[in-house]
Amino acid sequence: MKTSTLNIRTPEGIVFSQVLAGPIARFMACFIDQLCIQVVLTLLGLVISLLALVSFNFAVAFYVIGYFIVSIGYGILFEWSWRGQTVGKRLLRLRVMDVEGMRLQFNQIVVRNLLRFVDALPAFYFVGGVTCWLNSKCQRLGDIAANTVVVRHPRIAEPDLDQVLAGKFNSLRQFPHLVARLRQNVTPVEADLALQSLLRREEFDPVARVELFGELAGHFRAKVEFPAEANDGVADEQFLRNVVDVIYRTKT
């Protein structure tokens, strides 16, 4: 079955997942890489044209060998020195990795790049594209032979919870028994929904945001009925912040 994630289970029983890159993203990265190769070859041509002033024979020989080395070695060199990335992959935040999560080896990089000769057949990576489309891990033939996959590599940063967990007065905390009941009734998915709505606050249209926070606040109010003094003058968004605060922080 075709999936968009690669799940790896460690011997310790921990499962981690990587998001697989699709054929379109990979084709775009490949297109950027081809442009880079063309730029390098143009520069090489300029340098070698100077050599042609000394010896045309040597200049042609250097260009022929240079063309071959650049077109074959570009992928190998970059993927090895940038740990699975080329210029195109880096721009689109893709990365080649071992299919079992192991360290990427030089041999794997060589094999997957040499097998481009077959993946590129008959033109424009048709064979590789079709294989990638049909394969459950979006692998082209070179990836299958080398035991590699291409994954999306999102920018990873430590999450910033300060904006939702600010240590302001929380009217709900005056009723610890109700807070305990709320924590008991709320599922992790519901809690995450509330947290994400606050974290992504700025992404919403103002009208949609008021509507969303209203619905969510209504949902959590129905879970546990707090006394009027806990809700008086508290806007839906603030109520939601209070709910997230008591769920994710057990102590003030």
Partner: protein, 333 residues
């Protein structure tokens, strides 16, 4: 139960930061070695971060922290559970005199198979040209091979001009790159369960057999040997070794009679394939150089006997190199 996310992050952040620092160092310095205490600490940090990931996955669906931890655990997992040899500093002499010939011998059956297919092609090509000389245009793709061999030999021997004058180096470079591309293609076609590799090897054999029989029938055996041997004794084995690598890939794909999983079979041979194809590249560089600077010159410029003797010496040395170099007296490998 939902974990206290802020407390959890505050408590665990130093552990994650320490693990990240160690990972950055390991990735930046692949040749660096950890002390036993550092290894123990690294393992401890990995296990704790993995446990944190399990906790956050089970008790909180906060995706950003989970992604951050997944990334850390994935990187550490690759470093800890990797059992294959870690990359070392480049040792070209060791690779040339030990790794390459040892790898060739390790997969000698694939080479014999590659040789057998090429010989079958040679026999087919030779018989085809012997019984149907009119088939020459079909069997030989190069225009200079379509002429009468006796006429070509007479032209070459009577020529007073050096037709490669002024472009020997570029001709050599073209031969090197073209032949290397053909070899890589022969290897890569191993992914067609070996069908493409077999076709390439057979087709090369057909051309070789057809040319050989054509020249032998015309009484030009000495010219043929003097023309082909200096570069051919390296170039032809290079194509055979590329075929060996392609067949190796095909055998791993098919996995006939083996119980190891598909991925393991491919993992086992990827290093050997890279070694073999790098060796082929070197051989073709040599062959390209010899073809441009020696093979294309005939009597009276260079006596055929000298060219044939050169080819024989090359062949013997190359055979001894592949058969003996890097041989371990104890294991016989």
């Amino acid at each position: 139960m939902i974990i206290d996310l802020q407390k959890f992050i505050t408590n665990e952040r130093p552990v994650w930061a320490e693990l990240e620092t160690m990972l950055n160092r390991l990735e930046a310095e692949p040749d660096g070695r950890l002390t036993l205490a550092q290894v123990q600490r690294f393992h401890q940090l990995y296990e704790r971060t993995a446990a944190d990931l399990a906790r956050i996955t089970t008790y909180s669906s906060e995706p950003e922290t989970r992604r951050f931890l997944e990334n850390l655990v994935a990187r550490a997992y690759g470093e800890i559970h990797e059992t294959r040899e870690k990359r070392r500093r480049l040792q070209p002499l060791r690779w040339f005199f030990q790794t390459w010939p040892q790898t060739f011998r390790k997969h000698i059956r694939a080479f014999y198979f590659s040789l057998a297919i090429t010989i079958a092609g040679c026999v087919f090509g030779g018989l085809a040209i012997a019984f149907d000389p009119d088939a020459k245009p079909v069997l030989m793709p190069f225009s200079h091979l379509l002429d009468d061999p006796a006429k070509r030999v007479a032209d070459e021997e009577n020529s007073t001009n050096d037709r490669l004058e002024g472009h020997k180096t570029s001709f050599s470079a073209e031969l090197m790159t073209h032949n290397t591309q053909v070899s890589i293609f022969t290897l890569a076609l191993g992914m067609t369960w070996g069908v493409g590799t077999i076709i390439m090897l057979f087709y090369n054999g057909v051309i070789l057999g057809a040319v050989a029989v054509d020249y032998i029938r015309a009484g030009q055996t000495k010219f043929l040997l003097g023309w082909l041997m200096p570069h051919g004794v390296i170039e032809i084995p290079a194509i055979l070794i590329a075929g060996q690598a392609g067949l190796l890939l095909a055998f791993a794909l098919i996995g006939h009679g083996r119980r190891t999983p598909f991925r393991t079979r491919l993992r086992e041979i990827s290093g050997d394939i890279a070694t073999l194809i790098f060796g082929v590249g070197l051989m073709l560089m040599w062959a390209g150089f010899i073809e441009a600077f020696l093979s294309q010159y005939h009597e009276p410029v260079i006596p055929y006997s000298a060219k044939i003797a050169f080819g024989c010496v090359e062949l013997v040395l190359f055979f001894l190199f592949l058969a003996k170099s890097g041989k371990n007296k104890n294991s016989g490998a």
